[in-house]
């Protein structure tokens, strides 16, 4: 599978599973000192060859004219973490939870197992250097992090891995939402449930 096909496959799934709106979200892959990133304003569900643009990781070039407006965030993440791929999405339930919580601690089995805890950080400007710094700092410790009221950034060795964290987070957020809606006393099934907060 070519890199373009990988962008297309993950982009389509992000859109169809409701993790991004028509023109929301972005993705990138690190290639040494270069970055392949989705075009500014592209539709992740309809990625074409023109929608994946190349620019420098450390230095600007004309590719920046076309790249996602969140390229500075992606660059900072690559410079400060071991990630080789980034998915940024707007998972609705997780975004809603982020408006009320400082961290999202999954209570379902898969979310507990894979994520343990997802921190929520706050930044009003979606693409500024200030946000880039705090997102990257958070991703040094966690594979996915939420920006309050905005969306999440996830890193992986490949796009599919980063996508998995996003999808897992949204499912966990949904389970939290359903559980709160149901009310009552939750029956704990995890041996070290009290430790997840410390993750």
């Amino acid at each position: 599978m070519s890199m373009l096909e990988e962008f297309q496959r993950i982009g389509r799934d992000l859109f169809l599973s409701g993790l991004v709106s028509s023109h929301g979200g972005n993705m990138s892959v690190r290639m040494g000192d270069r970055v392949l990133i989705t075009h500014r304003g592209s539709q992740l569900g309809q990625i074409t060859e023109e929608d994946v643009v190349e620019t420098g990781l450390f230095d600007n070039d004309s590719g920046i004219m076309l790249a996602s407006s969140e390229t500075p965030v992606h660059r900072t993440i690559y410079m400060q973490t071991s990630g080789l791929a980034i998915v940024h999405a707007h998972p609705k339930v997780a975004v809603a939870l982020s408006l009320f919580e400082d961290e999202i601690i999954p209570i379902d089995n898969e979310g507990s197992y894979l994520l343990h805890k997802v921190p929520v950080i706050a930044s009003e400007i979606a693409s500024g250097t200030a946000m880039a710094g705090i997102v990257a700092e958070s991703l040094q410790k966690y594979k996915i992090t939420m920006v309050r009221g905005h969306g999440c950034f996830a890193i992986g060795q490949v796009l599919e891995e980063a996508y998995q964290w996003v999808s897992c987070l949204e499912e966990s957020a949904l389970v939290i939402y359903y559980s709160r809606t149901l009310g009552g006393q939750m029956k704990e099934f995890r041996k070290n449930a009290d430790q997840y907060k410390k993750w």
């Binding site: 290639m31 000192d33 400060q80 071991s82 080789l84 343990h116 410790k141 490949v158 891995e161 410390k198």
Partner: protein
């Protein structure tokens, strides 16, 4: 410092002088331990003028900060030296108990220099270190040596013997150090360097007393790590049930299972030597290294005896690589390699190379494809440098070169390849070509992402993007080797879990990027070492066969390794120049500037 003991012992076998010094905390944090610490010491103290068998070469036993801790699969220790096989920097590691007993005795590392006037062994325990006569042990095999030395230990249950067999004594260039009778510090000739120093064995003893900075958090993270090991079918079913030989069928299915000295990429007698057949015919019981919840080892039996193995690589090297499908003969050869102290991979691939030379009418070193009897005889002859064994003991590259047929040696930088057909994989060939210790799968194995889907399956046709992934794996592999953790745990345990365990044990905050950064620093330091030794980008290469002869059949039919463009991309990604030399900015970033 939790994790590190904080002490290094120096032992000069020429003078008998023994001294102890502190391990600087910055060195510990920057290089972690194990392979990284060994590389730092060797770079600083063994320059290009030192020949591998010179008394001035060092033999460095190192442990990692996680060695012997509650971290799963964490019994590993390393031995670092200048390799007599490759001439490169070399470290090899294994999962025996020698490392954790060394830490229990109170040392992170032993730096052994000089050459004893007569055979000796080194005894390390909590009371101190002594050099002891080993004249009566010289000439004995690994099992005999181990039994005798354990019999002399105050408490055999807390002692561990790492020794050489006749192969190391006879300076076979790929002689191993064998720990606990069956765990091989296998590759590159660490056993030969030990033999060149007249050092028969290192015995380490101690009672476990390791403490963690944050025991409660460590317990939680270890619990989580063991949970992911239990959930992965690789680490919870495949490896425990079939051992590493579970890979035989998987690799053959992918057309990546070389045979007949890499002239074929599948094996017609696969069913005779599969993991399933091994379990059915030879299996006695599952075994595990200390502290390992996976348990990929197995005790086996043949008509001639019992032993551990054969592992996937050994099974392949002494089997299909030589066109042999007699499973009992393969296991017997494996037991013999362990007793004599030989690296099974280099042994098998060197014999396989000689078999091809015989088939082509180039040379007759007494072995024939498919002839198990000649292979078994060759193993013994190599260890004692008898008859044709003397030529074979030099390794495939030197042996083939002697006959003017270097291109038939399946090696990179003189180290024989393991059981992965690079033409059927994306960047495994690049991994072999760029490995700092020569053609080896453990320096950045693409088995996970290209074959097993860990973390996700990626295109293994060499598509764009996988070069970066290889570099990622080279770095994290260096970290695993330096922490003292088995890479098989890495099929389930993430860098995130490792970093959290490091934090809980040492009390120093580690994030995954710290491990990758340390791995990159170690990789570049090893590269600098090899460049200083005179290696150049021309040595980052593969045998012509892999780059020019398309595979004849199987799923990867028609493919070759397109090394040149991958190498160009690799150097650029690494921040090296076109000649494969790290740029100043890269060295500065890694704290390696002169």
């Amino acid at each position: 410092m939790g994790g590190w003991v904080g002490k290094i012992a120096r032992i000069n076998l020429s003078t008998g002088k023994i001294s102890v010094e502190d391990l600087p905390q910055k060195t510990a944090v920057d290089y972690l331990g194990g392979r990284g610490l060994g590389a730092r010491i060797l770079y600083d103290e063994v320059g290009p003028s030192v020949e591998p068998y010179s008394p001035d070469n060092l033999l460095i036993f190192t442990t990692g900060p996680l060695t012997g801790t509650k971290a799963p699969s964490s019994s590993r220790f390393s031995v670092t030296t200048k390799s007599p096989l490759t001439g490169t920097i070399l470290d090899s590691n294994c999962g025996g108990k020698a490392g954790l007993r060394l830490k229990d005795a109170g040392y992170d590392a032993l730096i052994i220099s000089g050459k004893a006037a007569k055979p000796v062994c080194i005894i390390v325990d909590e009371k101190g270190i002594k050099i002891q006569d080993a004249g009566q042990l010289w000439g004995k095999d690994v099992n005999e040596t181990t039994d005798i030395l354990l019999g002399q230990a105050a408490n055999p249950l807390t002692a561990s013997v790492a020794c050489i067999g006749p192969a190391g004594e006879n300076l076979v260039r790929f002689a191993a150090v064998i720990n606990d009778k069956s765990k091989a510090v296998g590759r590159g000739g660490v056993g030969a360097v030990m033999g060149s120093k007249n050092l028969k064995a290192v015995v380490t003893s101690g009672e476990s007393k390791q403490i963690a900075a944050d025991q409660e958090t460590l317990d939680f993270i270890v619990y989580e790590a063991r949970k992911v090991i239990k959930q992965s079918p690789i680490t919870s079913i495949g490896l425990p049930t079939y051992g590493t030989s579970a890979l035989v069928r998987v690799m053959d299915m992918m057309g990546a299972f070389p045979s007949y000295n890499f002239t074929e990429s599948i094996f017609e007698h696969l069913n005779d030597i599969s993991g399933e057949m091994l379990r059915e015919k030879l299996f006695i019981k599952q075994k595990a290294c200390w502290g390992c919840p996976i348990g990929c080892k197995r005790e086996t039996k043949t008509a001639n005896g019992t032993g551990e193995g054969p592992e996937y690589e050994s099974l392949w090297a002494l089997g299909p690589e030589c066109g042999i499908h007699d499973l009992e003969a393969i296991a017997d050869a494996n037991y013999l390699c362990n007793r004599l102290g030989l690296d099974t991979i280099s042994t098998g691939v060197t014999i396989g190379c000689a078999m091809e030379l015989e088939k082509r009418g180039i040379a007759d070193e007494g072995v024939r494809f498919g002839d198990a009897k000649s292979m078994l005889k060759a193993v013994g002859d190599i260890a004692y440098r008898r008859n044709h064994g003397d030529a074979l003991a030099e390794g495939s590259r030197r042996m083939a070169e002697k006959h003017g047929a270097k291109e038939f040696a399946m090696q990179a930088k003189s180290m024989e390849f393991p059981a992965y057909e690079p033409r059927a994989m994306g960047v495994q060939g690049l991994s072999f070509a760029t490995s700092n210790r020569g053609g080896c799968h453990l320096r950045g194995n693409m088995l996970g992402p290209e074959m097993l889907g860990v973390p996700k399956i990626v295109d293994h046709s060499g598509a764009t993007g996988t070069v970066g992934l290889l570099i990622y794996h080279q770095h994290i592999s260096a970290a695993f080797d330096s922490l003292g953790v088995c890479k098989f745990a890495g099929f389930a345990v993430s860098d995130e879990l490792l970093a959290r365990m490091m934090t809980a044990i040492t009390g120093i905050e580690f994030v995954p990027q710290n491990l990758h950064h340390a791995g990159e620093r170690i990789w570049n330091l090893e590269r600098l070492y090899n460049l200083r030794e005179g290696f150049t980008s021309k040595d980052d290469t593969l045998p012509k066969r892999l780059m020019e002869e398309p595979l004849k059949d199987g799923p990867a039919k028609g493919r070759v390794v397109k090394l040149a463009p991958q190498l160009e991309e690799y150097y650029r990604y690494r921040g090296w120049d076109a000649n494969g030399v790290p740029k100043k900015e890269k060295l500065k970033q890694l704290g390696l500037e002169a």
